[in-house]
């Protein structure tokens, strides 16, 4: 009986934590990740979700020539550093942050407009916790005023 009781408490405590994480995702994107874009101007789009260690996400976007972009990908404190790659239609890896000290940002411009795919991965953490950690991951874009 006591064991069942603890399991119930654990289950609902985890549910509550998960809800809080979801509610805080918007705040995380706006108040923390957006700062990574400075001095670029945030485009205003919102791409954020709760991800768990081991989970991956993809984002598809068209980028245009003549614009200077900054990509910022941030994970909340509960998560290990987020890994990401930027890939073109020919599957060429144009950027891999694991080769750049797991940088949260990447500044780039394009000679020609094209669609790119951004692959995001939450690696497994080093902790020996029984449950994989979950937290907010935000993907944000900034650009420069061309004038």
């Amino acid at each position: 009986m006591r064991r069942t009781y603890h399991l119930i408490i654990l289950f609902f405590a985890l549910s509550f934590i998960s809800y809080n994480a979801s509610a805080q995702c918007k705040g995380f994107a706006k108040k923390i990740c957006k700062l990574e874009l400075i001095p670029y101007i945030h485009d205003g789009n919102y791409h954020a979700a709760i991800l768990t260690e081991g989970e991956e996400a993809e984002l598809y976007k068209t980028f245009y020539s003549g614009q200077e972009y900054r990509l910022a990908i941030c994970g909340s404190d509960a998560l290990p550093d987020i890994e990401f790659q930027v890939i073109d239609a020919y599957k060429n890896v144009l950027y891999d942050n694991t080769e750049n000290n797991l940088s949260r940002i990447w500044d780039f411009s394009l000679e020609a407009s094209q669609q790119l795919k951004i692959m995001v991965k939450v690696p497994m953490g080093d902790t020996e916790s029984e449950y994989p950690a979950s937290g907010c991951v935000a993907i944000m874009f900034g650009f420069k005023d061309t004038e």
């Binding site: 009781y5 979801s22 144009l94 094209q114 669609q115």
Partner: protein, 311 residues
Amino acid sequence: MPEKYFVKHLPVLLLFAFSLVIISCNSGKKKSVKDVNIEDFVTEDDIFDDIDKAKKIFYSLPSPLETAMLIKSAGAEYDEELLNDISNSSKYTTNKSMALNLGIYTTDLSFASLFDQTQASIRYMEAARKMAEGLDINDAIDNATMTRLEENLQHRDVVMDIISETFLNSSSYLKENDRQDVAAVVLVGGWIEGLYIATKLVGNSSIKNNELADRILEQKLSFNIVQRMLDDNQENEEGEPNQDILELIAQLQDLKEAFDKVKVTTTESQAVTSQDSKVTTIKSNTEVSVTPEDFKKLQLVVDNIRTSFIQ
């Protein structure tokens, strides 16, 4: 046992009940990103070939601010006649029309502010606010936002930050409240407005060596993303057809046919990073081509769609 047992375990029971409420309120709340069925994406677009049904997928359209910036950087001039008249705002009473025109007015606002049109910026922010309030998007554009805008009209960087933040407030509110479909409609409205302004500005000019015309044709790349984003929202949470989205897909059918006449080819890319600035330049070549007749058709289709959106 009963009473004593109940009192002893009251906190746990309360936690249990509270958690049930929370879970029921948030069931299916992961709509801001979706698991994708691979069969939905059998297309000729190479970049989507490896789409993985197990992953979370985001589609990103140019925001109203980015759309306005793209038009301006291609050499556009400001013409207020092209923007959706503020007086139209009272006509929009359905969720779909308010969502489309939230996007449209936000693009108009962005366009006006990029050309330092201060009074127009205030008027269009008010119009966007009216649409947001109609959609019950709480506090996306509040009195403090309006005051901050009025106090900073001479500082374009601050104005752009305000526009970016209000759009972020709207889109995050919608996505985190199971209204991903409405967020998609807002984006489509803003994107079509940008396309409309650009096609009108090109007018009867030659499209050869015309940067604005090239920018319009390159939107074929973003139209693929529009289609996927709308396809993802064809059904509501209960698996029922989403009529607003289905109508919108039908409205955009002519645009699909017009963009089918546009050829866009991109060569392989090479990334070169400057050691000084640390900025990477992606070197490649994209060719866009269309006949003048098909460009005219594209202009006409965009005009018709935009007219239907603002009616």
